[in-house]
């Protein structure tokens, strides 16, 4: 029998995002454990009521995942049609609009988070006010920063779509989507932690 075995199918972009997801998960696990330890180490922990707008922001983020999936499906259909019929113009269709909407929702989410910060600041709660507010700002800021990475990734996919010369950016879109959905999951986790522990 032939000793030759095929290597697994190459998908570095997807592998890369999974590795990135592992990294981000681990670092937020570290922050969470720091929070648990910190909560138990001093008598200065003060309860912080979460700003209501966080729940609205959560809906925005969940909606962005839905628009992203809608856009991705639409683009897959367009690409298939284009390949079969030699039809051009998939790159200006509704798929692109869905992706743009996703980016807009992501940016709106971040704007909402900034409003939440301003709300806390108005209540006199700043980064160093008490340990609970420390963690609120650290969690939300780092999640927002990572989400901006997702917005950049979608921007890259859109640029590739417009350039259109290098063919359908399937791998890039797949990887960006995976990352974006992970940002949703991460936020739901953080919201749960903030709601139950702050």
């Amino acid at each position: 029998m032939d000793t030759l075995k095929l290597s697994p199918p190459s998908s570095p972009a997807r592998t890369g995002v999974w590795v990135g997801i592992a990294t981000i998960t681990l670092s937020f696990a570290a922050y969470t454990s720091a929070m648990v330890v910190r909560q138990g180490s001093g008598a200065d922990w003060q309860h912080v009521a979460l700003p209501r707008i966080l729940y609205f922001n959560t809906l925005l983020l969940l909606a962005s995942s839905a628009t992203l999936e809608a856009g991705r499906r639409r683009l897959e259909v367009d690409w298939a049609l284009e390949a079969l019929e030699g039809r051009a113009g998939a790159f200006s269709g509704p798929g692109v609009a869905w992706l743009s909407a996703t980016m807009a929702l992501g940016l709106l989410f971040i704007a909402g988070q900034v409003i939440a910060w301003r709300g806390l600041a108005a209540r006199g709660l700043f980064l160093a006010t008490n340990p609970a507010s420390d963690f609120f700002y650290v969690f939300t800021a780092l999640h927002g920063l990572h989400l901006l990475g997702g917005v950049t990734a979608l921007g890259y996919v859109l640029a590739r779509l417009r350039a259109a010369s290098a063919g359908p950016p399937r791998a890039a879109l797949g990887a960006a989507s995976l990352y974006w959905h992970f940002m949703d999951v991460l936020w739901l986790y953080l919201l749960l932690v903030l709601a139950t522990r702050l």
Binding site: A34, L84, L127, P131
Partner: protein, 602 residues
């Protein structure tokens, strides 16, 4: 047989597109070729050059410390001018000593022992060994190096801030590292730069680890199954996984430390702390939290430094013993086991932190268990050499030296793993001797072995073997003379981190300290031979053939140095394991990994 349907048009288009994208064309401009290169080979060399600059810096710092330890009252010429407030008249203050110690440790651990064996050799060799044209994400790879360089520069900047570099050690224990200026000279701007530098370093290494993992998983050539990967590739892959976890935790720790320092938070600073007669404006933080986060990174970091050495030794020894590695699957399993166990032992650095004796036992047991796979590795290397027709090249000598210093340093680890003995030894030179042998010198020997071995592939020229052998012999003598006596000092109760031993019960240790200093200066001077060899060989060395060592892995089947896309437009197909030595092949007593099989199937 049914008719095969014609492949859909989309498949054809995609294939054509893929070929176009995959066509790996070398850049033409100077900047893209030599400076901001995307080529893993250039990036690997850049990492090695950075490590060389860093190791020379770190070594000079250690000489200053050693000189002061041996002759505490003698002025060091020029030092007074470099640090007028901290070394008036050329005699260093204890604070300056601690600053030098901090910078020595930080530079050596992060910018030498992490960059050279992992990022340096790994970058150059791994993609070729798996049969890829480059890393999976060349842009991230380039960023990884430049981010690391920025981290190095930020760290060096600590020398130039008014108070000088921090004095909290490479472990930066809180609250000393967290409260700022009040904690002493160097704890102002210097310590902030330290934390910033390490945070940036983490980002660089995470980008590197990402590349190593994706490249190994996705870009292996046809036929390059996991068990056909060379042990060095295995080691870099496993190290990347360790690094991914370790730096993912150190980065948050550094961010929290920076916030404590600049934003007034209290993650690591307890309430009611009075330092320099001032009540610190913090409350409720946990200094132990820093220790846990740091050592959760810090212990695996030891393996980030040493596992690539394991891989390099396992890869090189069979080449020069002309014999396959004993127990290839066991070797890979041992490295994986070490990686896993490295995450269960961090508490053994904290036996003195007042932990519950039960917790200490829980950390002590896996610490003893981790010696089992490490010992098995040593036995496999010895078994590989045993009965082989050893070719004693410099690279081979450094492999044997690696085994020697790793065993010497490892044995003292058995003592330190036990909380009751560690309580006595932890604060002494015993620990200094231990970790310099097992992590510092052993990893350096791995780096030397790798350099003498892969230099011909990197630069297309051979290194001088005579100079190499002199370098090896004198270095081996030098490191034993330097670090072995430290174990005796430690057993005698000689504490570490003191800048001088003149006025107290430790005065009797001074003669031995003078001997160690002489040995350290000697060992350092011997490295000039290596430097001369590096420079001379790069310019004038004998031209290297493609496969000077008659080795089997893929990097030896391409020209020295390899072309931009590594395989000259061809796609290698692998049909053999990495260890086909001692059999009859077309080119001698070995079979290359890419050689066709007898039936011509590959």
């Amino acid at each position: 047989m049914p008719d095969t349907p014609a492949p859909p048009a989309v498949g054809l288009r995609e294939t054509v597109e893929k070929i176009r994208v995959l066509k790996h064309v070398p850049p033409t401009g100077f900047l893209r070729t030599h400076v901001f290169s995307l080529d893993h080979k250039v990036i690997g060399k850049q990492y090695l050059d950075l490590a060389l600059v860093a190791v020379l810096t770190g070594m000079v710092l250690s000489w200053l410390m050693r000189f002061h330890l041996a002759y505490p009252d003698v002025a060091i010429p020029g030092l007074g001018r470099l640090a007028p407030t901290r070394a008036a008249g050329g005699v260093m203050t204890p604070e300056l000593y601690l600053s030098l110690m901090t910078m020595h440790g930080t530079i050596m651990v992060f910018f030498v022992l992490t960059t050279a064996p992992f990022a340096g050799f790994g970058n150059f060799v791994l993609p070729i060994q798996v049969g890829a044209e480059d890393m999976a994400f060349p842009r991230f790879n380039m960023m990884s190096f430049w981010v690391t360089l920025v981290a190095f520069l930020v760290l060096l900047a600590a020398f130039f801030v008014p108070d000088g570099p921090p004095l909290s050690g490479w472990t930066a224990y809180a609250p000393l590292s967290a409260i700022g200026k009040d904690a002493g000279p160097g704890q102002g701007g210097g310590q902030t730069l330290w934390a910033l530098s390490i945070a940036i370093f983490c980002v660089g290494q995470l980008l590197g680890a990402l590349n190593f993992i994706a490249t190994t998983l996705d870009l292996r050539a046809r036929g390059m199954t996991f068990m056909r990967m060379p042990y060095s590739t295995w080691a870099w892959f496993i190290t990347a996984v360790i690094g991914l976890i370790a730096f993912s935790v150190l980065l948050p720790a550094c961010i929290l430390l920076i916030l404590d320092r600049v934003a007034g938070t209290s993650f690591f600073i307890p309430a009611g702390l009075v330092v320099s007669d001032r009540l610190q404006p913090h409350s409720g933080g946990s200094p132990l939290l820093w220790q846990h986060l740091f050592w959760f990174f810090g212990h695996p970091e030891v393996y980030i430094a040493i596992l690539p050495g394991f891989g390099i030794i396992s890869h090189i020894l069979p080449v020069f013993a002309r014999k396959p590695l004993l127990g290839p699957k066991v070797a890979v399993a041992c490295m994986a086991a070490i990686a896993f166990l490295s995450y269960t032992v961090w508490g053994h650095h904290m036996f003195l932190s007042g932990m519950n004796p039960l917790s200490a036992t829980l950390f002590s047991v896996p610490t003893l268990i981790i010696t089992i796979p490490a010992t098995i590795m040593v036995l496999l290397w010895i078994g590989t050499v045993y009965g082989g027709r050893l070719r004693l090249t410099t690279a081979c000598l450094f492999c044997l030296g690696f085994i020697s210093v790793f065993v010497s340093g490892g044995i003292s680890g058995f003592f330190l793993a036990q909380p009751s003995i560690d309580t006595y030894l932890h604060g002494t030179y015993f620990v200094v001797g231990h970790f310099h042998f097992v992590m510092g010198v052993a990893a350096m020997f791995g780096i030397f072995a790798g350099t003498y071995f892969w230099f011909p592939k990197m630069y297309g020229r051979m290194m001088n073997e005579t100079l190499g052998k002199i370098h090896f012999t004198l270095t081996l003598i030098g490191v034993y003379a330097t670090f072995m006596p430290m174990h005796y000092l430690g057993l005698a109760g000689n504490v570490r981190r003191y800048s001088a031993f003149t006025d107290d019960y430790m005065k009797g240790s001074l003669p031995l300290h003078r001997f160690i200093t002489a040995a350290a200066l000697f060992t350092g001077a011997v490295q000039l031979i290596f430097l001369v060899n590096l420079v001379w060989s790069r310019l004038r060395g004998a031209k290297a053939p493609d496969n000077p060592w008659q080795a089997t892995s893929l990097e030896w089947s391409v020209p020295s140095p390899p072309p931009f896309d590594n395989f000259g437009g061809k796609h290698p197909v692998v049909a053999h394991g990495p260890d086909e030595y001692g059999r009859t092949g077309p080119e001698g007593d070995f079979v290359m990994q890419a050689a066709p099989t007898a039936g011509g199937t590959a």
